[in-house]
């Protein structure tokens, strides 16, 4: 999305430039090198293994040579600067990194990029653009479904995956009967979205946006 507006510096560019200046100014406060030498930092001389991987991300094919340790999340953010997907806990506990892999939602932080060779990945950048938002993104704006916005891209991708699961008739923990197809009630949405935390507590409005979108989506199907 950044490439659409090259003349308009993003918040990321701004933060990057100011933090670089901050580090330069703070050099004199660094620990003496002897203190660093005694610390138990990982041995960076350990040989890393690399492997080639080809993934289709938001309909665009990418072939990269990567360290086998690279998670799908780090590949998106650090290698391809698709920074819409957020790193929250990095341990599969918060859902901020949720992306769609072959249509299924997963936590990108708990998945190795080398395990996604030939997979189709969809991130928040593949949902809509600033000028042409996805209907669910519009809904989040309309319903005020965020404060800081850090969990939003994960909430959006998760909701798209969740609605597809519900359309396929997959039951949830709160589904009363495992055999009879169930309507997507608010309780169902809450349960199915429980893997996405929002520390601002915008849950009610997130549910409102998803509920609204699901209803409109049903009408158009």
């Amino acid at each position: 999305m950044r490439s659409d507006q090259p003349a308009n510096p993003s918040r990321r560019d701004f933060v990057k430039s100011t933090s670089t200046a901050g580090i330069a100014a703070g050099v004199s406060t660094q620990f003496p090198s002897t203190a660093l030498a005694k610390s138990s930092l990982p041995d960076v001389r350990e040989k890393a293994f690399t492997q080639q991987v080809t993934l289709t991300i938001n309909s665009q094919k990418h072939t990269l040579e990567i360290d086998t340790r690279t998670t799908l999340l780090d590949l998106l953010r650090e290698k391809l600067t698709l920074t819409g997907t957020k790193k929250g806990c990095d341990h599969g506990q918060c859902g901020a990194c949720t992306v769609l892999v072959n249509g299924n939602r997963i936590n990108a932080c708990l998945s190795l990029a080398v395990m996604h060779d030939s997979d189709e990945i969809r991130t928040v950048e593949g949902l809509g653009t600033p000028d042409n938002l996805h209907a669910l993104q519009d809904g989040f704006v309309e319903h005020d479904s965020y404060q800081c916005g850090y969990c939003t891209s994960g909430q959006l991708c998760s909701a798209i995956g969740m609605l597809s699961e519900a359309r396929q008739g997959m039951p949830s923990h709160v589904t009363p009967d495992l055999i009879i197809p169930v309507a997507l009630s608010r309780d169902e949405i809450k349960e199915r979205m429980s893997g996405n935390l929002c520390r601002c507590g915008a849950y009610q409005n997130i549910c409102n946006a998803i509920e609204d979108y699901a209803e409109r989506d049903r009408e158009t199907v």
Binding site: F49, T68, G92, N104, E165, P171, L178, E191, S194, G195
Partner: protein, 318 residues
């Protein structure tokens, strides 16, 4: 994370050959637990063998009525399978009570069986933990133990086993197919986990040269199935206590409990008491319990859950 080589296996035999060449290799399918542990360097395998593309991702109904679940079938696919929903609802319910939608899409059947405890002292590498570092001690004793085990604990370890799925498999008497280059063996789930030992880092009977290939469910047992899970929040949390309970057509009942022991906890010898004397059942099922002041609530909670399920079943039958 420490560097590791990564190879995608083409078949179970290929995976086993690769692992045979490298004693410290680990198999990976979903990776939702293993990668977490590798990030913390609690696990540091020099080689990861990816078994997710070895054709073990199918749920097959066999001619004799049994179901064979491939080791890399995801938790979501298993929970949503119509045969499972219809004939083994306790298993669907247990899976749906675990983790989140995202994790269930990635986590697999074999990995779920082998997932490690969520004891905070196992994860905190600054603490003593006999499971993580044999012989280092157990910081959980006298520490935060609300989530931990109350029965089948030892001086070495009070960790609880976190799986919901395995609790349902235990009540269903599932079997685990283990493959090695020299053959295949079938282990009933009741014999798969060690429980309390002086070596808590060895958790199952699986050998270094073996791979879980399938989980086999017996023919449908019928009856009414329940999976009740009590946790600290309404969703996306590990069990304080859970119960997989089946009321069979002949009037008998069976139950396996989660969150209370280092393995799914089932005491078959006392199960005839489930329908007649719940106090006595709980007394026998928890005899030898060694709870802490933080988790002693689990035993009365287990009794409460069982009483509730029995009453629910009675009402449904009335």
């Amino acid at each position: 994370m420490r560097p590791f080589n990564f190879i995608t296996a083409e078949s179970p035999q290929h995976a086993l050959s690769l692992a045979a060449e490298n004693k410290n290799a680990k198999f990976i399918a979903g990776g939702t637990n293993l990668l977490d542990l590798m990030k913390l360097e609690i696990e540091a395998p020099p080689l990861l063998v990816d078994i997710s593309k070895t054709g073990l991702d199918k749920i097959e109904k066999r001619e004799d009525g049994r179901i064979a679940i491939g080791t890399s079938v995801t938790n979501s696919a298993l929970a949503a399978d119509m045969n499972i929903r219809r004939d083994y609802p306790v298993l669907s319910r247990a899976l749906l009570a675990g983790a989140s939608g995202q994790l269930r899409n990635k986590a697999t059947t074999g990995g779920n069986l082998l997932q490690r405890t969520r004891c905070p002292y196992f994860y905190d590498t600054a603490q003593a933990c006999n499971k993580r570092l044999p012989g280092s001690g157990c910081s959980a004793k006298g520490g935060f133990s609300r989530q931990l085990a109350v029965i089948d604990v030892s001086d070495a370890c009070i960790a609880s086993f976190p799986s919901d799925m395995a609790v349902a498999l235990r009540v269903l008497d599932a079997e685990i197919e283990l493959c090695s280059l020299t053959g295949t063996r079938i282990i009933p789930i009741r014999d798969f986990y060690h429980g309390a030992t002086t070596q808590p880092h060895i958790e199952t009977v699986i050998r270094r040269d073996e791979l879980i290939t399938r989980i086999i469910l017996p023919r449908p047992i019928g009856g009414s199935h329940f999976y009740e899970k009590v946790r600290d929040r309404a969703s996306y949390a590990f069990a304080l206590v859970s119960a997989a309970m089946v009321f069979l057509p002949d009037g008998s009942a069976r139950v396996a409990l989660g969150g209370v022991a280092p393995k799914p906890w089932r005491v078959e010898s006392a199960e005839q008491l489930l329908t007649t004397d719940i106090d006595e059942y709980v007394r026998i099922a928890f005899s030898g319990a060694a709870s802490t002041h933080e988790n002693q609530f689990k035993i009365p909670l287990a009794k409460q859950i069982l009483t509730t399920l029995i009453n629910e079943h009675k009402e449904a039958m009335a």
